[in-house]
Symmetry: C2
Subunit: 436 residues, 2 copies
């Protein structure tokens, strides 16, 4: 102990919560987990560090620049930047141990060395589900994913949210039909519509030498709106003679039909032809989810269908569909915007406060409470009663039990409701009754 003090701090871009926020965060995480499990998704937990050759097998792109390298010995290692690449590696590696369709959920931290700015995190939780087929995977799965999201966000306490749905085949097919064969750039431009506005989309398309006529047609196309059925009907009426387009439209129709069957109300999902998703591995259905009252937050849950999960690790064809909740960012936005607020400073339901000399009786009582499933804490430290009550107040523990001579002699407990201030001397049975 040389007396030198290092300032206690964490790295920028890392989230660390106070106990009350942590309790709220854990509740959200538990709710998500429970919903994922209810639909048959299996848990997975992969190492945070992986071999670079595995994690970066795909190579290139923005991702590689954001990688955290890990150094110890000679092995080339890095921290995972999403949960999809580890899933691909896992499924390829444990292929013969898995039953397909393989449904898995994964809630875990990922790392991206993003530019430091408010609301962007370098360490953040993702909460993912994916359904992986062996060779093929029915399009009904594309409809189940939104139903899981619906159930999850409802349980998280939201009512007004919209799961926006599109199908990339429709977009690509439409572009192909206009003579645009490499539709990737057009897709990405369309995907930025919300962010950059219609004029900038037009300009960007002009720059890659899309003809004025085509640009007009593209704009007209992505402006198609109406109810889900109206949009699908308008798309059919276009009578576009392109295999990909027709395939995508059939998939979208079926997806919409089944989303309804899964019980998702019409107001909670919407076909939206402007949803394209920037990532290049999506090949069919794509999703983005918005909280209607807080559009500024952006998409809180996105994903889609991909043709082949694990091309870099296996020759098995593994199509899948999945979605990811960016939990850390969502939590940050919700608390920052005071959309949700932590209410519990503790999980403790009862604080037992013994008067001098009655610790034994207090401890015995606390054991009975805990055995009945009641989260109970005893205040062990010496001090004035005010300090002890103040502790219960600060942790906003709802009930306090005080024990002393009178209580001990009569085999009773002073039971105080901290909210109402009501206090009565009652038996343990009566206390337990209050918690039923």
């Amino acid at each position: 102990m040389n007396g030198k003090i290092v300032k206690p701090s964490i790295l920028p871009g890392f989230m660390e919560l106070t106990p009350s926020d942590q309790i709220l965060f854990n509740k959200m995480m538990d709710t998500i987990r429970k919903n994922y499990e209810k639909f048959g998704f299996l848990p997975i937990d992969t190492p945070l560090i992986e071999k670079s050759e595995v994690l970066l097998a795909k190579g290139g792109g923005e991702t590689e620049k954001q990688i955290y390298k890990v150094v110890k010995g000679d092995t080339d290692m890095c921290l995972r930047f999403d949960l999809t690449v580890p899933l691909a590696r896992y499924v390829a590696q444990h292929y013969s141990d898995l039953s397909f369709p393989y449904k898995r959920y994964h809630i875990g931290k990922v790392y991206r060395g993003e530019r430091n700015q408010k609301g962007r995190f370098r360490e953040f939780y993702q909460a993912d589900i994916d359904i992986i087929g062996n060779g093929s995977l029915d399009v009904i799965n594309d409809a189940e994913i939104p139903s899981v999201i619906y159930s999850t966000f409802k349980d998280l306490g939201f009512d007004s949210f919209t799961i926006k749905i599109n199908n990339r085949k429709i977009l690509s097919g439409f572009f192909n039909n206009l003579g645009i064969n490499d539709s990737t750039f057009v897709l990405r431009t369309v995907d930025k519509l919300e962010k950059i506005g219609i004029d900038n989309v037009k300009n960007e398309l002009k720059e890659i030498e899309i003809s004025q006529t085509s640009i007009e047609k593209i704009i007209e196309f992505i402006s198609i709106n109406g109810t889900n059925d109206e949009i699908i009907s308008k798309l059919k009426d276009l009578n576009i003679d392109n295999g990909l387009f027709v395939e995508g439209l059939n998939e979208l129709s079926k997806t919409v039909e089944y989303i309804r069957l899964f019980g998702v109300p019409e107001e909670n999902f919407a076909v939206d032809l402007t949803i394209a998703r920037g990532l290049d591995y999506y090949t069919g259905t794509v999703y983005e989810t918005f909280l209607n009252e807080y559009p500024e937050i952006g998409s809180v849950c996105s994903g889609g269908r991909y043709d082949d999960l694990a091309t870099y690790y296996t020759k098995q064809k593994l199509p899948g569909v999945g979605i990811s909740i960016g939990l850390t960012r969502l939590f940050y936005q919700l608390t920052e915007g005071e959309i949700i607020k932590s209410t519990d400073n503790s999980l403790t339901q009862v604080l037992v406060i013994p008067m001098d000399g009655y610790m034994d009786y207090a401890i015995k009582g606390s054991s009975i409470l805990r055995e009945s499933g009641i989260y109970t804490q005893v205040y062990f430290e010496e001090g004035k009663m005010g300090k002890k009550f103040n502790y219960a107040d600060r942790l906003n523990i709802p009930y306090v039990i005080i024990v002393g001579k009178e209580e001990s002699e009569n085999n009773k407990y002073s039971f105080k409701n901290m909210k109402t201030g009501e206090q009565k001397i009652i038996s343990m049975d009566e206390i337990l009754e209050c918690f039923k």
Copy 2:
């Protein structure tokens, strides 16, 4: 997609589980969490990466050699190697937001570049609890910790385990009384008794020039045994006139007395004078926990009392007591030794299998089941019935519901118990009744 396949594999020393083992692991983790919360411990979740100057503020020692460095930009960062240093930093940093005694639990991964050998992990879960006082912390807390451990291991399904307890002040006081003032090395040597045997302990002590008489006295001392009360009584009878010794003995007596009050049965805890703990920051009570039927596993849960948690980050005096379960290693040992075995390949309780054309009816049924809290999955893929039943078998899903023409027309379901083979056509209400 260049067709080049990277072999899917993970780094040596990292644990990754199959779905059924993961389910079992998560159950253990949930049980531990629930017990920690029941006693009033608050959750915490700190970044896995910290500034090196913070994490390595103490410096030196074995730990530093095992550090995983993290590289991205210029900041000197590394991965945490335990949950205690982050706790110290957290408490110093958020001091004014915390209510003391601050009870926190933390279940998370830590990283140590240990030599690669069976049963040793480089990434592993620790499940820690600590109670931190502001300035002081009553010794009753030293007795509560074993009661949490008792409750946790009982809930994990163990009956025959022993929480061994000692107090470092007793050892140091005894050594001081023999004229050995720097007792650290002697403590460490005594701590290795189980591993290296009595003769090697004697030799090591001889090497650091402890006199033959003192060595004999040390051996005689650590050989003191009997019931908890007998050992304490024998220690008292030694009449050692050393302040530290007397203080330690008082603490130990009080700890034993209160462990009983907390309801820990006599057979589940034992004063053991050979328990010293290698780590240098313990200053009072120390714990190690052994599964009596599997002594070869070694200690499954260890910890102790320390005078000051966060000397490197704050001038506040923060005494504490805590314990850690090395969850990954424990799980490995328990499954390797077939002491525990995974039984569930899935969390799904019901698999709904629709006959051709009855998907709608199947999906509606599954929604009702899920709304009633029953974990339900629908088999969406086309294929033969055998394949679908095989899926239920492989995931050992306990119940299967088959729906087709007959079921749909009569608003009923064929409900099959996969264990007994019993199958009956019943209503949804009757099915729900079965799960009550």
